[in-house]
């Protein structure tokens, strides 16, 4: 365990953030940080798909929204206590993710991106039009605040501490998964699917699993959001939400979990610090994606590994000896 911590400074930095309430007493600050925490989990979970596996899933808000609505409905309709609703919404969203994975297996690159964008819209339209269940465009108000056996989360400060636990746990579990055998297999699929098959990787089961895991964490984030804000509506889970998460992943670095923490943090906090930027949030996300893709494809994480390398990158990119023939599709 100490070794794991040494290799993983984020596992120290995240819990250390819990001392902030000793110095700051400002609900607004805690609110921003709670939201940042939710986006950290969303970005990490999307990074599994886009960054690690190379699956361009562009409708992550569909999973986020599914988790939020599942959790809200389970506690409002069935009276499930928060911990049960939280876990159940993660699991339900995972099932949804696995279901989506099967048709998605046949699609690649831009085609998968378009299909998942479509999925996002379908989910949003369902939430908007299933008035009887989801409350329609007006959404679901009055979602109960989380009751965690001994403590009840009420103030933004409480949620801040809960968010730290949530982000740390998600980061810990995901980094265990990704630093080792399974993370390698995902990257192998991203680099060369045929070669991955040739060494015995079952591509189908990996893609299905990674959709399920990604959706699981997005669903948990949705549940956390729903019980924090206590009111959800379809507008919170549209395409612009998905693009915001993509921007965070891209900024932080594809295929780097720590990068996702940083990307989510920066894109949540910067528009708040410069209040005048607040109205331009979506513009900022769009520009971030464009700039990163053009100039810094490794994101912040890639840049820290190789500072200054972004200038040289373009030339090095084609250094691989190429054999024009391609074979062995299956």
């Amino acid at each position: 365990m100490p070794g794991a911590v040494r290799r993983n400074p984020a596992l120290v930095a995240l819990p250390l953030a819990a001392i902030l309430p000793f110095f700051v007493d400002n609900n607004y600050v805690f609110h921003i940080l709670v939201v940042a925490g939710i986006y950290m989990v969303l970005s990490m979970s999307l990074n599994l798909l886009i960054g690690y596996t190379g699956l361009f899933s562009f409708g992550h808000a569909a999973f986020y929204g599914t988790g939020a609505y599942a959790s809200a409905l389970l506690s409002l309709g069935c009276g499930l206590p928060f911990p049960a609703a939280f876990l159940a919404s993660g699991l339900l969203t995972a099932v949804f993710g696995v279901t989506v994975a099967f048709p998605a297996l046949r699609l690649k690159t831009i085609f998968l991106a378009i299909a998942t964008l479509g999925l996002n819209e379908i989910v949003r339209l369902f939430l908007t039009n299933l008035d009887d269940v989801t409350g329609g465009p007006a959404g679901l108000p009055g979602i109960p605040l989380p009751d965690l056996w001994l403590v009840r989360l009420e103030q933004p400060q409480d949620f801040y501490l809960a968010a730290i636990v949530f982000v740390t746990a998600a980061y810990w579990a995901l980094s265990n998964l990704l630093l080792k055998r399974h993370g390698r297999a995902l990257k192998a699929i991203r680099d060369d699917e045929i070669a991955a098959k040739a060494v015995g990787v079952n591509i189908t089961s990996y893609k299905v699993a990674v959709f399920g895991i990604s959706a699981f964490f997005a669903g948990l984030a949705g549940s956390f959001f729903a019980h924090y804000i206590t009111y959800i509506s379809p507008d919170s889970f549209g395409l612009s939400e998905s693009f915001a998460i993509i921007a965070m992943v891209a900024l932080g670095g594809m295929g780097d979990l720590r990068g996702s923490l940083i990307g989510a943090f920066l894109l949540c906090v910067i528009p708040e610090v410069f209040r005048s930027l607040h109205d331009f949030r979506e513009l900022i996300y769009g520009f971030t994606i464009m700039l990163i893709v053009r100039m810094l494809p490794g994101g912040i994480a890639g840049w820290t590994r190789n500072p200054g390398g972004w200038l040289r990158r373009r030339r090095n990119d084609d250094s691989r000896p190429a054999d024009p023939r391609r074979e062995a599709e299956s």
């Binding site: 265990n176 297999a185 070669a195 040739a198 062995a328």
Partner: protein, 273 residues
Amino acid sequence: MIPGRRTRGERRNRNMRMVEVRKASKSFGGLSALKDVDLGMEDGEIRGLIGPNGAGKTTLFNLMAGNYRADSGSFLFDGQEMFGLGIDERVSLGIVRTFQNIRLFGSMTVLDNVKMGFHCRASTGWLSAAFNLRRSAREEAWMASEGERLLDELDLLPHRGEQAKNLSYGNQRRLEIARALATRPRLLMLDEPAAGMNESEGRQLLDRIRAIRRSGITILVVEHDMNLLMTVSDRVTVLAHGQKIAEGTPAEVQTDGRVIAEYLGREADASGH
């Protein structure tokens, strides 16, 4: 057609050759790339596979490894039918191949590429990877030490931390072999392993292939470098136009009339059609 699978118990038949391809055929649209090809290999053999461009050598690899589905025919490996099994199942039974056009995991390190070869022999599932740290750490340590041993054998150890895409051509070819060996194969299929290598690298490769065979692995190798191929192979199979035209020891094949005609008369043949 999915041929019936045999269970492990049935497959130990001492008279049976390790590799028994029978009447394998494959066509692409109207083009028949492989027609009723038979291939029998003994355990521990090094078999050379030659033929002019487009003869169907890579196609045969693709059928045997499972990249393509055969139109018809069968492939018994230790008596067990392989056509119909997935690539991953064949890898775990001991059939592995390398690629003519090199397929590495370019963004991953050299050591991680080899670790991918161990993938099929590792067993930690998702849950135990996430929570059972002791167990997955042990497995990681095992992969790292075994991986470094393999890299050392193929003289790649100094490059272990480099990204695979930055290796030289010859090193990339050797890395592909190291990765294939990591799956602990019983049948190793090499598709033009010396392509792009200089003469001394080619000679080293020759020794390497022999060493691999000494460790008990059966080898099927496609190679355009005739010198190398005839030196290393126990027997040679010759394909042309998707059909087997000759088979025998290197000496026999080199004096076979059809083989000579095929190699010398290729241009005449092509225009004569």
